[in-house]
Amino acid sequence: MSTITPPRPSPGTEQPGRAAAPDRPGSLALRALLALAVVAVTVFWWTGTPSGTGTTPGGAVTALGELTGLVASVLVCAQVLLTGRVPWFERSVGLDRLVSWHRTLGTSVVLLVLTHVLLMVLGGALLSRNALWSQAVTIVTTQPEMLSAVAGTVLFVLVGATSARLLRASLSYEAWFVVHLSVYLGIYLTFGHQIAAGAHFVGDPAARLVWILLYAGTAAALLTWRVVLPLADVARHAPRVTAVVPEAGGMTSVWVSGSGLGDLGATAGQFFLVRFLVRGHLVSAHPYSVSAARTGDHLRFTIGALGDHSRAVARLRPGTRVLLEGPFGRFTAARARRRGVLLIAGGAGVGPVRALAEELRLRGHDVVVVHRARSAADLGLGGELAAEGIDYRPVVGRRSELGHDPLDAGHLVALVPDLERRDVFVCGPPGMVATVVRSARAAGVPRSAVHHEELSLS
């Protein structure tokens, strides 16, 4: 880009005495832990597999099928723990990245489970010289817990298929979520055959105990962090909707209040999984960012009119009970390392940006907010931002009307000439976030100073 200026050392732009929160300190550790688990189960398989097994093709294929099954089983536990709201994972990795890993690993696990099934049938058929289909029938009818394993596998495949891009796009969040929940039943159904029919567990009580503890531990973690603690929080704080305020651009602000809600320690830029306890909202929790900073026992969520659910939010009544999980997220003011900060908001992303702008200003940062919208009427919360003593720069107009993308590198630098010396926070639709990240990087903003977080959980 012609607008790139050579980096200049600018004394005074670093915040002295305040170290920025490191970016995802546990990211590497968690991946190492995952790799270690896979290595451990491979060693377990290696030592438990007699060399004699490999002297026939059928034996070798069966053994490979067992290894595939063992690895898939460990990864299933990892899968549910990744999105199990484990506090250490949340703090050190961030829910957005955990969800992204969960999505990647999910594809792999479902395919590994199918591979395991295929290899076990093929290996058995080679050993018994049966036809494949009759071998499959033999396995199901003669081996213990195999019928429920088949049912569980069907659920795995269903969950995998509904999460695949093609099908996911045609499903509502609620429908997808209900199917996704059935994976717990699938895991329960497939556990039995591992212990009862798995060659590595049948004759080895110690291995069986370790395996049962692995699954029991996973279940305990899920129960603690996904059920018991959120419910305990609800009982303690009894959060309710206290006000519903329509905003520009079809957005709605919902105030939720409860005694001691401030103790949850939510900071600007973080989000909660919010479930309004009223018909039409019960099925699934949605991730909403707080859109106002330092509001004590009150939380404000500003929700864009994106889906059926978000639109229905406008019809909520004060007094409605709310189930809150959180706060989550690492898109916070603590990440800003420089005095100068540029915040870029698009669509419903203005909620967290509004809260962050306020928080950063109170912390003594020099804050510029770029608010991207299709038209001036869509600048929800714009009035608040402009009134805060913040350098507020709305950028309106469709790209097709403007003939360019106002957030591409050239235009962004023209809009914010000292961009290079600022931390950049961006929140909005994925396409916009990608554009801004590219522009900021091209303008010389280091990777560690560009902050964004994906909110989608599906």
């Binding site: 491979t42 290696w46 438990g48 597999t49 007699p50 060399s51 004699g52 097994t53 490999g54 002297t55 026939t56 093709p57 059928g58 034996g59 070798a60 069966t62 053994a63 490979l64 067992e66 290894l67 595939t68 690895v71 992204s100 999505r103 990647t104 690993l105 999910g106 594809t107 792999s108 395919l111 590994l112 591979t115 076990m120 058995g124 050993l127 018994s128 049966n130 033999t138 396995i139 009818t141 003669t142 081996q143 213990p144 891009r165 009862a196 029919a197 798995g198 060659a199 590595h200 049948v202 004759g203 080895d204 994925p430 990608a434 994906e454």
Partner: protein, 167 residues
């Protein structure tokens, strides 16, 4: 995010290649044997549910059903074949004969194994593996063959009784 499209599929393919490599590392040095010669007689589930053990096979004439009565030696004076106890399983009886050269286990033959439409197949594929395991382990401490849980357990029991009888 679009950047991660197909990442899961790639991770899967990588994992599959890795697992296959591990399996090759585990078994790679071993040539496939079509019918392991040392256990040639082991695929003969000659018994039936009625318990008549008119087992036929290369070694069965030497096998006895009593562990307290060591079997007669074969051609080599230092080689003895000892019959193990009959182990009952839910699918039928399992019995083996263990051949020792000195104190070494050199062969295990199946005298009887569960019979039935599926049981025979299970026995057919599991007993060679089990025999191989006993010969490598030189003991009855062997792994269960996948899908042949009861046969494996009975097999272990019978082998152990033969080893005990040999003393």
């Amino acid at each position: 995010m679009t950047a991660h499209r197909w990442r899961g599929t790639f991770v899967y393919l990588g994992a599959l290649a890795g697992l296959a490599a591990i399996a090759v590392a585990r078994f790679g040095g071993l040539p496939f044997e079509q019918a392991a010669p040392t256990v040639a007689g082991s695929t003969l589930p000659a018994g039936d549910t009625g318990g008549s053990t008119s087992g036929s096979g290369p070694a069965t004439p030497d096998a006895t059903t009593s562990p307290s009565n060591p079997g007669t030696g074969t051609t080599d004076p230092s080689t003895v074949t000892v019959g193990g106890d009959v182990a009952q399983t839910p699918y039928g009886p399992v019995q083996v004969a263990v051949t020792f050269t000195g104190t070494r286990i050199v062969d295990v033959q199946t005298v009887q194994a569960p019979v039935g439409p599926e049981s025979s197949q299970i026995a057919a594929r599991s007993t060679p593996v089990l025999a191989q395991e006993v010969v490598s382990a030189q003991s009855a401490h062997i792994d269960t063959v996948s899908g042949a849980t009861y046969t494996s357990e009975g097999y272990r029991e019978s082998v152990q009784s033969a080893i005990d009888a040999r003393g």
